[in-house]
Amino acid sequence: MTTLKYQTVIIGGGVAGMAAATELHKSGSKVVLIEGNKKLGGQVNNWYKVFPNFRPASEIVNSLSTNLLKDKIPVLLETSITHIESNSGNYILKSNQGQVIEAETVLLATGFNTFDPSGKEEYGYGIYPNVLTSVELEQRLKTNTNGISPKRIALVHCVGSRDEKVNRLHCSKVCCVSAVKQAIELKEFYPNAEIICLYMDLRMYDNGFEELYRDAQLQHNIKFIRGRLSECALNIEKDLVLKIQDTLAGLPMKLTVDQLILMVGKEAHQLPQFDESIIIEKASHGFIKPADSHLNPNTTSQPGIFCCGTTSGPKTIQETISDARSASLAVCDYLNKK
């Protein structure tokens, strides 16, 4: 069994992993990028266009992955780390391909999964036709086949976020703006359909988000109703009957829609299995808890093991990339001090 030696092992070939790998390589450290799937890009591959300016997601993934090729950074695809243990300050990682890698530092870029809404059965995911998640909608938009010509589509915010009943208390930050983006895309797809967003709070917090929201209202006539979807049933014509409380009008409300899009939240991706001696502290929402969230957001409770991107919590793509670059700096500092 060959033992490979690197200064840094980056686990997770998504946008964060790629960005960190390029930066680390630039600062001269020997780095390897490990990705479980056949392809780099992680979750961003599932998206067709990204907010706030409808830029194709593939453009971001391609530009980052071409950097990797240009710098000839070693990438191990279809490889997942099965066990990590530390010995005298370095880390030994075993992979499912039988490799053993020794590294001074490990950078976790394992990212996130989207919430499986079948746990929220009252929304009828998998039970009723035409109930799909935002990611599934994005696939259909990519291949521009949505199968039905709807009269009315509803997008439900906070599915698997800010919901104690499915044990997901945190806010996933990006679903609100994605909902508005997808609403606009749907409106362009079906000009005379009525698109409704059902929200509790609309968190359009970053640059260009509020303008996108305003544009959605004014140019595209997207409707926003403040009320959390309580339950969804089928009527005899197989339309989805939604029951909400329009909390601003202070009245219960019933409406039928042809398609229901669930804006699924983010949850932490499964971390590789660590030896008992290594403790990686988790925050309440299951993502990694940085040792110092202000001054050193990329460190973990275990020295030498760093985290970047959505591994430490939901982020937009912009935030993920800048976080990955800051992580590479943290790793370099650590390596220089050693």
């Binding site: 059965e121 998998g126 009527n235 005899i236």
Partner: protein, 353 residues
């Protein structure tokens, strides 16, 4: 039922005892649907050959009083403690509860004792002081519909008829209504959980019928004690039934089956009130939608005489359904007593019901 419903349902599998039950009667079902409990005992003992014990000293579970804020929770626990002591005396470990409201209360009391042992001690102390009795907690709690559901296939074999339309052979489309206290308070106490309870749908599909999934399926039938007891709220109670009936109307259900005394009673009686108030009737031929208890449904397919099942006491006449199912009945004996004498015929309302 597609696979998600299945694996959601699989999460809520109950183990139901298969013999030696202590039968806890309901206090109001005798006068709502008199023969239902009798039919349950007949089916359990004669058809299934099970051992079902009853104890005359058994009283009401005080559910109506408790839900109307007349009976305190401590009194309720003590009464239930007394019933358990009757069971301990009879040496029976499994209880079969006839009414959904008391089933809800029994599960509530047992859950309270599980999480707050002090309450259990307190109840034991009260019971001993009041009656000198002690009791053990029964091993298996089941509602009678759970048990009928458990032996639905055995009943199906013994059945002489199916839930199908006699002429067309089409399966009857049947609306099932589960009493809210059955599984909405403690989903794991209900067969199939809160969203997709299987207890009645299982019977309907086992006996050849089709169960209907209409939007207001999980909506409350309006029976709520504090709604129908107080006249000021009664309008709210009938509006709930109205909402359900309007929602199921497009599906043209042949009849409604329920496992709770209150739901069966009110969905049946309110149809008359609605027809008087609003001149609106439901069901095909505007003859109203008959409402049966699951024991009556079981009795029909087992070939019992409709009048023995007490179907003549229903507000919505069941005759059109009997014709549809091809079940013979003797019109003249409708209101005759056990040995054939016709005593008196109740007032026939002007409307269909």
């Amino acid at each position: 039922m597609n696979d998600i419903e299945k694996n959601v349902w699989r999460k809520y599998q109950k183990n139901i005892a298969d013999d030696n039950y202590f039968f806890v009667r309901s206090c109001i079902r005798q006068n709502f649907f008199p023969a239902s409990e009798q039919a349950f005992l007949k089916i359990m003992r004669n058809v299934l050959g099970k051992n079902v014990i009853e104890d005359p000293k058994h009283t009401t579970c005080a559910g109506i009083g408790y839900h109307s804020d007349v009976v305190t929770f401590d009194t309720l626990q003590t009464i239930m403690g007394r019933h358990f002591s009757l069971m301990t005396e009879a040496g029976i470990k499994n209880v079969a509860i006839s009414c959904v409201t008391s089933f809800g209360l029994y599960s509530e009391v047992l859950e309270t004792w599980k999480h707050f042992p002090k309450e259990l001690e307190k109840t034991r102390d009260y019971l001993y002081k009041a009656t000198g009795r002690t009791f053990e907690i029964p091993e298996n709690i089941a509602h009678c519909s759970d048990i009928i559901y458990k032996f639905r296939n055995e009943i199906a074999q013994k059945a002489t008829r199916k839930l199908v339309n006699a002429e067309t052979g089409e399966p009857l489309s049947i609306v099932d209504h589960i009493g809210c206290h059955y599984s909405k308070i403690f989903p794991e106490y209900g067969e199939g959980g809160a969203e997709f309870p299987q207890v009645l749908t299982g019977m309907v599909s086992a006996w050849g019928g089709n169960s209907v999934d209409y939007p207001e399926r999980r909506h409350c039938c309006g029976f709520g004690f504090r709604q129908y007891l107080v006249q000021a709220n009664r309008g709210y109670s009938v509006s709930n039934t109205y909402k359900k009936l309007v929602s199921m109307e497009p599906y043209k259900p042949d009849f409604i089956v329920s496992n709770c005394p209150g739901c069966t009673m009110f969905m049946d009686k309110w149809q008359y009130t609605i027809s008087e108030m609003e001149h609106k009737t439901f069901g095909d031929g505007n003859q109203g939608v008959p409402v049966l208890t699951y024991e009556e449904m079981a009795g029909l397919i087992l070939g019992y005489n409709p009048w023995d099942l007490g179907l003549q006491m229903h507000q919505v006449s069941v005759e059109p359904l009997l014709k549809k199912m091809g079940i013979p009945y003797d019109e003249s004996l409708k209101f005759a007593d056990k040995n054939g004498h016709k005593s008196s015929v109740p007032f026939q309302p002007s409307y269909i019901l």
